[in-house]
Amino acid sequence: MLLGDRAKFLMLLGGVTFAALLMLQQAAVFCGLLTWTTSHLTNMQAKVWVVEAMVEQANELKPLRDTDVSRVRSVTGVGWAVPLYIGITNARLSDGNFKPILMVGLDSATLVGRPATMLDGRLEDLRKPNSIVIDDLALQRLRTPSGIPPKIGDSFEINDIEARIVGICKADRAFFGYPYVFTTYDQALQFAPRQRKMLSASLVEPAVGWTAEATARKIELETGLRAYTQEEFYWATIRWFFKNTGIPISFGTTIILGVIVGIAISGQTFYTFVLENLRHLGALKAMGASNTLLSMMLIFQAFFVGFTGYGMGLLAAVGFGTGAIKRGQPPFVMPWQLPTGVFVLIMVICLLAALIGILKVIRLEAAVVFRG
């Protein structure tokens, strides 16, 4: 019946597609933003992060004393611990332009916290003097005015010191949108403006037989520093952004809007469809169609619209996501829970829309067909 009423079918389909697209796209961008907030953790994998006692999330690392690494190393349960520097500074390009960068200093001996994927060059070349490895975002952000991306062998200045590119890696983008520039910890201390305390964090591997949680608690107990397991730091960061920024409310509002638009359009259109077809539904009832059968019919039609609309919405969201990933922005991450959740929501919306019609049909007297 519904398929034959093309205008209503398309209206319903449009509403559900739009709702699905809105929810999927906004939620995926939100998830993408959250991954940007935790990019330090994904780019520099470590089982335990030891930071200053007041640090609440991964993007606000407060400096520690260099000797704190040694204190951490002395804790029972620590297999090894290495220093890490993370700081925002400026790169002065060959044309004289300044660009902000996120500089990461890795332990020279082990290069622990290294990027997982090298796109070009060798990471070990970082040990050469004044060497840096840039991430793929730097290829866009540190371009010359004529649009030529930096390549291995090129150099720019950080704090008046020459930095030569020896490799290009792939890294997750940071929340502030600055490119990652990797170097050794010692070199980073040379590049960065001098401060009394320079250590950002200590990356720790638990000793054999120790869990990350147990090691973290032991470090906190013995040093007074804050120690997070990778997972604890991830969720602490996410929680911090939820609590302290308007991002979740902003995205949440849009997602709720998607649900409301979906319910409003599909509910109203479906109800109108039922009202306009009451006479035919009454005729079917008179001919012996039970309430259950008519209800199933309405649910089937609502679910058909839901499936099709969801599919189209998902397709559009994936299309948007493919473009976003190619451009590098806006952030777009779609874990499997997201399409599953939106699918359930869309089906609930369609079920609600069908229920409004079903209530009408159940109350409908078959005798309506005999009234003029």
């Binding site: 079917l284 008179a286 001919m287 078959a366």
Partner: protein
């Protein structure tokens, strides 16, 4: 050919049937202890002015409306004592409907429309459509099974409605103003068809109508007024009566 009233089977027996609508002061009685009989092999008309209770009586005989009071036996089933589910099943198996506005589903093809009663009875789609196609042939619309109702004239649509009403071979055919939307000639054809159907063994047809042109096709006429059946006429009595 009218059978002897003493030997023919009663198809519908209505005793003291009452039905009201609304509540309190707004309550109106549409039927007031109505008495009515219809027999197998008859084409029975129910006539009367607007608002006299014809449609209410027909709705209850069809099992689409529940009486407040009285007894209603249709094809041997005491509808007043049956559950809603049992009445629905009874309708599905025993009653065919022809409506004033045809009530063909506009988004289904003719064959699909005619198949509906069979599908409701559980027949497989392919078999139902095959039977529906044959039925369409019988009402003179062979080869148009894939057409939609909007592509047909009023008379043709009513023929499709007849095909739909008969496709599951019901014992009782309920018709609500089947000729009111049709011209005289088409109405004549439809009534001829209905009378033929009424003559089949074990079948009966009840028609509610305002249309005096169709009185000539009736075997019996029940005249209603103010919620009651005033009189039921047949044979010579019917011919001599002023209606």
């Amino acid at each position: 050919m009218i059978m002897d009233p003493t030997t023919r089977q009663t198809a519908v027996q209505v005793t003291g049937l009452t039905k009201g609508f609304g509540r309190g002061d707004a309550r109106t009685l549409a039927l007031k202890e109505a008495e009515f009989n219809a027999y197998e092999g008859d084409l029975q008309l129910i006539i009367g002015p607007s608002g006299c209770g014809k449609t209410t009586l027909l709705s209850m005989i069809a099992g689409t409306l529940v009486p407040d009071q009285g007894e209603l036996t249709v094809l041997g089933h005491k509808l007043h004592a049956m559950s809603t589910a049992a009445i629905t099943r009874f309708r599905r198996e025993n009653i065919g409907f022809i409506f004033q506005q045809f009530n063909l589903i506009p988004t289904l093809t003719l064959v699909e429309n005619i198949s509906v009663p069979l599908l409701l009875a559980g027949t497989r789609v392919r078999q139902a459509e095959k039977t529906a196609d044959a039925m369409l042939d019988r009402v003179g619309l062979g080869g148009r099974g894939k057409n939609y109702p909007r592509q047909l004239s009023g008379g043709q649509q009513q023929r499709v409605a007849i095909a739909r009403a008969l496709v599951h071979d019901p014992r009782l055919l309920i018709c609500d103003e089947p000729t009111s939307a049709l011209d005289r000639e088409t109405g004549h054809q439809i009534m001829t068809k209905l009378r033929e159907l009424a003559r089949k063994p074990g079948r009966s047809v009840i028609v509610v109508t305002h249309d005096p042109r169709v009185y000539e096709f009736a075997d019996r006429i029940a005249e209603m007024e103010d919620g009651r059946v005033l009189r039921q006429l047949e044979g010579a009595a019917m011919a001599n009566a002023t209606l």
